[in-house]
């Protein structure tokens, strides 16, 4: 019996403890990476999304105001003329859409949230820690054949293989590359539930050598026709919105933004 106990302890020491430590390291890395997009718990982020044609010219340009709040809550207000008045509310794994023509909050599925070159999930979900678990694969060159790194950017990255820890996240599986020195996000492969590669993302930092925040996220849509979409973060500031703004039935209201 004593041999069996020793054997089990040895197994636990050999496999379980390193994996737990690895898991803690991964969450630490994800929290560090999240700080480059969401430096505060409650934020108001002004976002510009540009869709590009194959020749590089701008096809569409859309503006959003995103309120990212604690407890995985986000409210997205569409600001572009063609979408003005549309709102999307995300409360954890639950989502609602309001179209201005009907003034009726409607439940939408995670798959409906995924629609578009830059899905609402790409705009409203800005953190990985807590939403994903995974393992540290190892160190790799940051650049790949299809996703070059900006000049002056990091050359050595830590590769993380992540799986969704919740059912409502935008992507089920993410391969994420963080710089080894500052842990800022460099690039990511984003997979949907069927394990299809949906998009590839590249992150553009404010300063390549000593980054403080993500300025842009460049997305290549592989479910579409490889169109490129750039999400620019125009402004971030701390803001806690009134609690009723995060009630689905409040979507039909038009509160002043100031």
């Amino acid at each position: 019996m004593r041999y069996v106990t020793h054997f089990l302890i040895a197994i636990y020491a050999a496999f379980v403890i390193p994996n737990a430590a690895n898991g803690q390291d991964v969450q630490g890395l994800l929290r560090a990476a999240d700080q480059y997009r969401v430096p505060s718990d409650n934020l108001e982020v002004e976002t510009l999304v540009e869709s590009h044609r194959a020749d590089g010219s701008v096809d569409k340009r859309k503006r959003y105001i995103v309120f990212v709040q604690t407890g995985r809550k986000s409210l997205v207000l569409m600001q572009s003329p063609g979408e003005k008045g549309q709102k999307v509310l995300m409360l954890g794994d639950d989502f609602w859409l309001l179209m201005p023509s009907s003034q009726r909050p409607m439940r939408i599925t995670p798959m409906q949230k995924l629609l578009g070159e830059a899905s609402t999930g790409d705009i409203a979900s800005m953190s990985w820690a807590g939403d994903y678990s995974g393992r540290l694969v190892g160190e790799e060159p940051c650049a790949s054949d299809t996703m070059p790194v900006a000049a002056g950017g990091p050359t050595v990255c830590q590769r993380l293989s992540l799986q969704a820890a919740r059912k409502g996240v935008t992507y089920q599986h993410i391969e994420l590359w963080l710089s080894r020195d500052h842990h800022e996000p460099v690039r990511a492969d984003l997979y949907v539930q069927s394990d299809k590669l949906a998009k590839q993302a590249r992150f553009v930092m404010d300063r390549a050598s000593a980054p403080t925040q993500v300025d842009e996220m460049v997305l290549i849509d592989h479910l579409g026709n490889d169109k490129q979409t750039i999400i620019r973060y125009l402004g971030r500031k701390q803001r806690t919105v009134p609690a009723e703004w995060l009630n689905p039935m409040f979507l039909s209201q038009n509160p002043a933004l100031d």
């Binding site: 063609g82 009907s102 599925t109 479910l223 500031k237 689905p248 409040f250």
Partner: protein, 435 residues
């Protein structure tokens, strides 16, 4: 006023409406990285939309027969060209936490029969604000509550135009409204049409309406109650939930003491005044079940089935058909053609129900969103008479411009109720420019 002059006036009005937005955007641009905190106090937006709608009248049914007997007896729906300008505005009021919101529409219409007009209306105009922990609204406001798409029994404050060929912005109801929001629940109390006569018909009937909403995880629950001055009590309940990544399901049920309906004639065949009259029905109920499935390729399938207790029964429609045939048969007995034509034209009142044509209905809609394009195909099927209304549409959405086009046609046996509708084929193209 000539049509060309009307058109110029409307374009001028649209440009004037659009102009302040440019100022607002410039002001916002000056604020630079201040973002939304620097948004202009007066918020303006809207769109200008041009629509060409072609319609082909029915060759069968009481209207067609009436007009063959006596041309011009029943008014037909001609093809039209429309230019609409819609302005949305919001501005703070002098009192803290209070704002004014409004939507106005200006429209010029040119009919294929040469007639035209210019009209304008206020879709919404209300003051809203918060005090004592409640949100208040007073004025004309759109209040949509139910969870369905093609049928919404619990939109008890106002009924939306369902399955419109080209959706338009709704016109609200005069309301006094109080709402309270907690983390996972909300109360709404509405006094609708408070200044109307107590004898007004259902859309304008003074009424009190209550909604309680509660969220439990992936399911939204709603409970409704309404008291109308004439139609008295109704109660309802609804839910919408997301059981999986791809599927949304919803259901809605309402029971009512009375509802307004159009009652058919039971007396002599030939009469000198419209025999169709509004009256109160007895107890009934409405039930909707439906769901939407969407996959990663952005295909979406909506299916809904409903029972509408406010719609005419099978016996009602049988009596309607029998009366149509009897009226036509009077010609053989020497009845004056103009009298038969007039009475057949009145029979069209039977099709003028505010709700469903048949009590049992099935609706499906398949759509695919691919970049800026969205083709869709939908069908409303009435099992009682195998009638079908089929609509195919295509939309393209750009930054500011939206292009839409579509066709709608009625199918089924010749005696199906949808085949008696005065318009059997419709086609449209629309261009919308948003500002």
């Amino acid at each position: 006023m000539t049509c060309a002059r009307k058109l110029k006036m409307l374009i001028l009005a649209a440009l004037l409406l659009a102009r302040p937005t440019v100022w607002a955007q410039d002001a916002g641009a000056d604020k630079g990285a201040d973002g939304p905190a620097g948004a202009a106090a007066l918020e303006l937006s809207g769109h200008v939309r041009g629509i060409a709608l072609g319609q082909r009248a029915a060759q069968a049914g009481p209207q067609a027969v009436a007009n063959r007997l006596q041309p011009g007896t029943a008014e037909t729906s001609p093809s039209v060209a429309l230019l609409q300008s819609e302005l949305r505005a919001g501005a703070p009021l002098p009192w803290e936490n209070w704002r004014a919101q409004g939507i106005t529409t200006l429209q010029t219409r040119q009919r294929s029969d040469g007639r035209g007009d210019i009209t304008g209306w206020v879709n919404e105009g209300y003051a809203t604000g918060s005090s004592f922990g409640w949100q208040w609204a007073l004025g004309k406001k759109v209040v949509s509550w139910d969870v369905g798409y093609a049928f919404r029994p619990n939109d008890v404050v106002q009924q939306e135009t369902r399955r419109a060929l080209l959706p338009v912005t709704l016109s609200g109801r005069p309301v006094w409204m109080a709402e309270h929001f907690a983390d996972d629940s909300a109360w709404a109390l509405v006094w609708a049409n408070p200044l109307q006569s107590r004898t007004a018909d259902a859309p304008a009937e003074p009424a009190l309406a209550l909604r309680y909403y509660r969220r439990t995880g992936a399911v939204d629950w709603h409970v409704f109650a309404r008291w109308g001055a004439r139609t008295r009590a109704s109660v309802g309940a609804a839910f919408a939930g997301v059981p999986s990544e791809e599927l949304e399901v919803h259901a809605s049920w309402r029971a009512f003491a009375h509802t307004d309906r159009i009652a058919g004639p039971s007396g002599p065949l030939l009469v000198a005044a419209n025999p169709w009259q509004r009256e109160l029905s007895g107890f009934g109920h409405q039930l909707l079940v439906g769901g939407t499935w969407t996959n990663a390729r952005q295909f979406s399938l909506l299916a809904e089935a409903w029972w509408d207790g406010t719609a005419p029964s099978r016996d009602n429609w049988l009596a309607w058909r029998v009366r149509n045939a009897a009226l036509s048969g009077l010609l053989a007995h020497g009845a004056p053609a103009f009298a038969v034509a007039g009475n057949l034209a009145w029979q069209m009142q039977g099709l003028g129900y505010d709700t469903s044509l048949q009590r049992a209905n099935l609706f499906t809609r398949l759509s695919w969103k691919h970049e800026a394009w969205e083709p869709s195909l939908d069908m409303l099927y009435t099992p009682a008479d195998r009638g079908r209304i089929v609509t195919a549409a295509l939309a393209w959405q750009g930054d500011r411009v939206k292009l839409e086009g579509g066709l709608r046609a009625m199918f089924g046996p010749v005696d199906a109720i949808v085949r008696q509708l005065p318009v059997q084929r419709q086609g449209f193209v629309a261009v919308t420019w948003a500002f």
